[in-house]
């Protein structure tokens, strides 16, 4: 496999994204919203009627689960891009021309994957950095120390989030073969958020303590396993002949 071919395809897709405002907004708005909103809520919540706000004990439970919101949006954002890069090309009928070039199926798939992987990752990591700085400013007084960065947040952001983004991209490749409309692809593609949201909920409900590093590594392992299964399915779906003869 020649990475240069994948890079050319990904660069072209980046150029297209820069011209599409709806894609740019979808990449940037959600992580930024969470990054500013949550520290704001933590800073001002519980201050009415003379109360002193959220306690330090509550914060140590709340803050790790907040980090998991980035895992949830790691499922949402790539679906917008991935559905455009594949279904969008299908709708614009540019896929046949691309398939006729001297590139392999895997090179095209990797190029599309890079294009759908890097912008959400950059946006999520950028947003998470802002979130951690603001959250430390908001909670330092009550905790007496900076909660972020910490190893668990690092595992979530640098291991679990990339796995979740990859899973979302692969799922969207599979979905792309069954739909012929970008919106439908985005809607079905976004269903990947359900298992990721479930992880967040189990943390909030304290069913699986997400402050525990071992638990995080186990969840990361499950995500990796799902990635490998979906990679196999996506590769089997993204075949020239399949695309031209069987895709809707």
């Amino acid at each position: 496999m020649r990475l240069s071919k994948s890079r050319i395809i990904a660069s072209k897709d980046f150029k297209v994204f820069m011209k599409k405002k709806n894609i740019l907004y979808s990449i940037v708005v959600l992580p930024l919203m969470i990054s500013f909103l949550l520290p704001g809520v933590v800073a001002y919540a519980g201050h009415n009627n003379g109360a002193s706000g959220i306690s330090a004990a509550e914060l140590t439970v709340l803050l790790p689960s907040f980090t998991f919101l980035y895992l949830v949006i790691a499922g949402v954002i790539p679906s917008t891009i991935a559905s455009y890069t594949i279904v969008g090309e299908k709708v614009e009928k540019s896929l046949e021309r691309l398939l006729a070039t001297p590139t392999t199926d895997d090179e095209i798939l990797l190029g599309k994957g890079i294009a759908a992987f890097l912008p959400p990752m950059a946006s999520i990591l950028g947003g998470a950095t802002i979130f951690m700085v603001l959250m430390d400013l908001a909670t330092r007084g009550r905790l007496g120390y900076d909660f972020f960065p910490n190893w668990n947040a690092a595992i979530v952001l640098f291991v679990m989030v990339p796995f979740a983004v990859i899973m979302s991209v692969e799922w969207n490749v599979v979905v792309s073969s069954r739909v012929s409309d970008v919106r439908a692809a985005q809607q079905i593609g976004a269903l990947i958020v359900l298992p990721l949201g479930l992880i967040y909920l189990t943390g909030e409900l304290d069913l699986i303590p997400l402050g525990n590093t071992s638990n995080l590594l186990i969840i990361a392992g499950v995500l990796l396993a799902l990635d490998l299964i979906l990679l196999y399915v996506a590769k089997a779906t993204f075949r020239r002949e399949e695309i031209l003869t069987k895709w809707k």
């Binding site: 050319i8 006729a100 070039t101 001297p102």
Partner: protein, 291 residues
């Protein structure tokens, strides 16, 4: 697709005619290594179609203009061409030179930085052809390049194909347009899931239903008619002093007809050959197959 045997020579413009569903696009996709064949053999420039190892080589040697123009509307004309040039491993200098050359030939150089989404259908189609040429392929597959274009745009595209023909590129042209095939193609194949006929446009016209010779005489006589009935001509019709015959090879048969008329003491005013058109030949073959 079944029973299709054809050979396209280097520098030839080969037309593929056939009704919808005849297998024209499928054939092109097979030859471009986009879909696999279930049986049979095919090769392009010595490389085997269907061999995994040769597929990339074939795709790097050919250019494809698909039936859908398939461009990136948000990118400029230049960026569209540059993207494909990069995928075909052309250097920056080669890409610059080819992009300028083809956009200029197609009258789009001034619009090179404009987003393709604002282009007219004709401009997009021309740009689509340029995309297939940006790596300078020697073999070009074009799937109905003038379909859905207004007459003026269609003519521009046809003229451009004729320019490419002068550059000795091998062109495989799928078309519904018989007039276009007749004007552009050196050889034509008529396809209806299997190969119905193949030859030059003239050969196809002749082979389908032959031609009609019309002879205008000063005066028809019984002696002339008797002399003509001895010839192996078909369907002689007499209308006043005008005679018509169905002939397969007018160059030979008309000489015998005129000789017979003179031999019987007749005088010929005019001899006209009325040919069957490619359209008649095409319709006859396709209808025959449907029966």
């Amino acid at each position: 697709m079944d029973s299709v045997t054809l050979n396209v020579k280097e520098g030839e413009v080969f037309g593929f005619l056939g009704p919808n569903g005849a297998g024209k696009t499928t054939t092109v996709r097979m030859l471009c290594c986009l879909i696999s064949k279930t049986s049979g053999e095919a090769s392009i420039a010595g490389y085997d179609v269907g061999k995994e190892a040769d597929a990339l080589k074939i795709r790097s040697l050919i250019g494809l203009v698909p039936d859908n123009v398939g461009l990136y509307d948000d990118l400029s004309a230049y960026d569209n061409l540059d993207f494909y040039g990069k995928l075909y491993d052309r250097t920056e200098a080669q890409r610059k030179e080819n992009i300028q050359r083809f956009l200029t030939m197609l009258g789009l150089w001034e619009k090179r930085d404009v987003a393709v989404g604002t282009f007219s259908k004709g401009m997009k189609q021309k740009l689509g052809i340029a995309c297939a040429l940006v790596h300078d392929p020697q073999v070009l597959f074009m799937d109905e390049p003038t379909a859905n274009l207004d007459p003026e745009s269609a003519k521009t595209v046809r003229d451009f194909i004729l320019d490419l023909k002068k550059e000795k590129r091998t062109i495989f042209l799928n078309t519904h347009n018989l007039d276009e095939a007749q004007k552009i193609c050196d050889k034509i194949a008529i396809l209806n899931t299997k190969l119905m006929a193949m030859g030059t446009p003239e050969e196809l016209e002749r082979s389908a239903s032959g031609r009609t010779t019309v002879v205008q005489l000063v005066q028809v006589s019984d002696a002339i008619l008797a002399a003509l009935r001895k010839l192996p001509v078909k369907n002689m019709v007499v209308e006043g002093n005008r005679l018509t015959f169905d002939v397969m090879d007018p160059e030979k048969e008309n000489v015998a007809i005129v000789d017979a008329i003179y031999g019987a003491g007749g005088h010929v005013q005019t001899v006209t050959v009325v040919g069957s058109t490619l359209e008649e030949a095409y319709l006859k073959l396709v209808r025959l197959d449907e029966k």
